[in-house]
Symmetry: C2
Subunit: 404 residues, 2 copies
């Protein structure tokens, strides 16, 4: 029996269905780890900072020596030397003494606060302090930022710029990360020719757009796209391509031709793959109904609709989720813009509608439904989702527009 | 005289100040063009589609022959053959004839509409059509999606997945794009050591975090980071590194140490570079005041604050804009989440405040100001900007949280 799931069902069930397809790990430099998923906890190897550090240019003191100081009655301390930037001070701050320390410098032992230079005056070998400071003022203590052995970046973190910065602060040169998922791409259809092919005026050809939509998005998400083949509507050809892809890749994305024959042949091939299991044979999504979500043993097998616009929505809304499930993490939530609709957008009950359009000056204008592929892709810069329980969106209603 | 600009002034003046630093162009495959800026208009080389195409499995007809058809009184047409997928049909659809055409197939000459198979019935060599169709129904005409010579992807477009898909639909194998900006990275400060260095317990060292924040973001934006050197607070060393960076790169980002000496030396070096011009010597932004935005002839020279948190905000808010100005395009608007604040966030008049925090379940909670670098970077997942005319944000106020 053919299963058709709703958008919500698919989103809910994808993490569980695809979670047991584990990826290998590899060790890379922290610079190369950008966009990768950390495969083991990254801990602080020592207290950070490993010394007490001044956060200002100022005077290291015992805070108690400044209590009661004021403009009229400054505290008077003996100057006990100067801390050189980057060096451990030889001196110690004793009672009623002060030692100069630059921003980032090591606060000498004995001191428990730093007074900013603005509040002090040097008179020969004495320092006048015009403002009291509390213990801990203008300094950080050893281990304040991270304690030795503390887990700072946990396993399973998607490493962005700030995580790479954090790893560098912890002293990592390399980290262990999950390997990038390798995604095999198969395009099917008698009418499909490679993009670089000039059209034969005697043939009803279509250029292979899906291949490039898939490879671009997989690259953006941090995977490795691998083009396998364009195949005709022929079971044997589709099977050969699928087997090659399964042998070389973690994921197979088969982009179906638009004719009924192709759909039948793709389904037949996927059903017969070793260890084939289906999450769904279709989705209650418009556009994008003819989507197959399956597994073949420990590999993910996805059948995309042949129409590039449908394929693009399914990639953005569904395959995006599958990709991160393979990495064992929650897909980063898609950011959005808030906009008002330029017109009423009707929608059918019982399925989720994705509507592409252009957001400009806070107004979302759908691209007309009759638009061709190129028009739609080049004239839209985002999409909205109308839930299956909604009958549409009114003019001037507020919507969330996802970038795509 | 030292210039200090507001956030708004800087954002407004950056495109003009940095626009004359043009990049070379290169030709790359469309797959490699992802994230690049198109350097010349991409036009349709022919009408697309180059034939009239059916959008359904159906019967190609003259629409006029179906006018008045109904369940009770179907139109009766002669079946005049079948169109094979991918091939130009040999037949022509004449008056009161119909020809089968699959989805994506070539609609034969003479036909001006396609009737879906659902509304038809085959009786031997005759077709009963139970529903009238208008001219143009269920088909697209030659050139409907793009006309020969029409500019489809204009010069200066940042190429995302859908633009790469569009280029493939147009038949491009390669395109001319701007070269990736090469960004030289210099870290200054007596206390700064490379990330991979174990701390010397006798020294007040800090690991070089800025290098990795810069390189990660530049990579994400599509540039090429090139690490030049970590240099001491020494004018000659800083000058040598700056000259090397200028010779090799399009942009130099010099990340300043936190001490006053470093600031003076960096400024002295930048001022003396050939063709030095300053947009500003500082920014009315917290954190991030000690930021230098300058040029040396046709290269951009940026002095970042030494403190990594300040540097990170300036990279996200300011250098991001400069990067895209170099590419001659508007920086992609940063998407956001809408959230309510968990607490009152005070702010000072007269400067823009950037506040890092964590967004969870629609609530934005600032990371406490006293947090160390690592705590802040690992505990926050976004930031808000409080404009210079605001005195702060109340608890439960709605804010836009930018991902970072």
């Amino acid at each position: 029996m053919l299963i058709v799931k709703s958008y919500d069902e698919a989103i809910r069930e994808i993490p569980e269905f695809y979670k047991e397809l584990p990826l290998q790990t590899e060790t890379v430099t922290i610079e190369a780890a950008l966009g990768r998923v950390l495969a083991e906890d990254a801990c602080a190897g020592e207290d950070i900072p490993h010394f007490c550090r001044s956060t200002v240019d100022g005077w290291a003191v015992k805070a108690a020596d400044t209590f009661g100081a004021s403009d009229a009655f400054p505290a008077i301390l003996k100057i006990g030397g100067e801390v050189e930037m980057g060096k451990k001070p030889a001196v110690c701050v004793e009672k009623e003494k002060a030692c100069y320390v630059p921003t980032g410098g090591w606060v000498p032992e004995g001191a428990d606060a730093v007074v900013m230079i603005e509040f002090c005056e040097v008179l020969k070998d004495e320092l006048l302090v015009y403002k009291p400071v509390s213990p801990g003022a203008s300094m950080v203590f050893r281990g304040d930022d991270a304690k030795e052995n503390q887990v700072i970046v946990p396993k399973g973190t998607l490493l962005g710029a700030k995580e790479i910065g954090t790893l560098s602060a912890l002293g990592f040169a390399e980290v262990k990360v999950l390997c990038r998922p390798v995604v095999g791409i198969i395009s099917t259809g008698n009418e499909i020719v490679d993009s670089a092919t000039p059209f034969d005026p005697e043939k009803a050809q279509m250029r292979d757009v899906n291949r490039y939509l898939v490879s671009s998005l997989i690259t953006q998400w941090g995977g490795v796209p691998r083009f396998i083949a364009i195949v005709k509507d022929d079971e044997a050809q589709i099977r050969a391509a699928a087997e090659k892809a399964l042998a070389e890749c973690d994921v197979v994305i088969m982009s179906g031709g638009s004719s009924a024959g192709i759909k039948d042949n793709s389904m037949k091939v996927i059903e017969s793959l070793p260890g084939a299991e289906f999450l769904t044979h279709g989705l209650a999504i418009k556009p994008g109904k003819p989507t197959i979500l399956a597994r073949a043993g420990r590999k993910a097998v996805i059948g995309l609709p042949g129409h590039p616009v449908s394929a693009y929505f399914i990639l953005q809304a569904i395959v995006y989720q599958i990709f991160y499930s393979l990495l064992g993490i929650k897909a980063p939530e898609k950011a959005y813009f808030v906009a008002k609709t330029a017109e009423k957008i009707p929608s059918n009950n019982g399925r989720d509608d994705f509507v592409a359009g252009k957001i400009e000056n806070g107004v979302f204008r759908p691209v007309p439904v009759k638009s061709g592929l190129i028009t739609l892709l080049s004239a839209s810069n985002g999409y909205i989702r109308i839930g299956k329980d909604s009958e549409g969106i009114n003019k001037d209603e507020e919507v969330l527009v996802y970038q795509y």
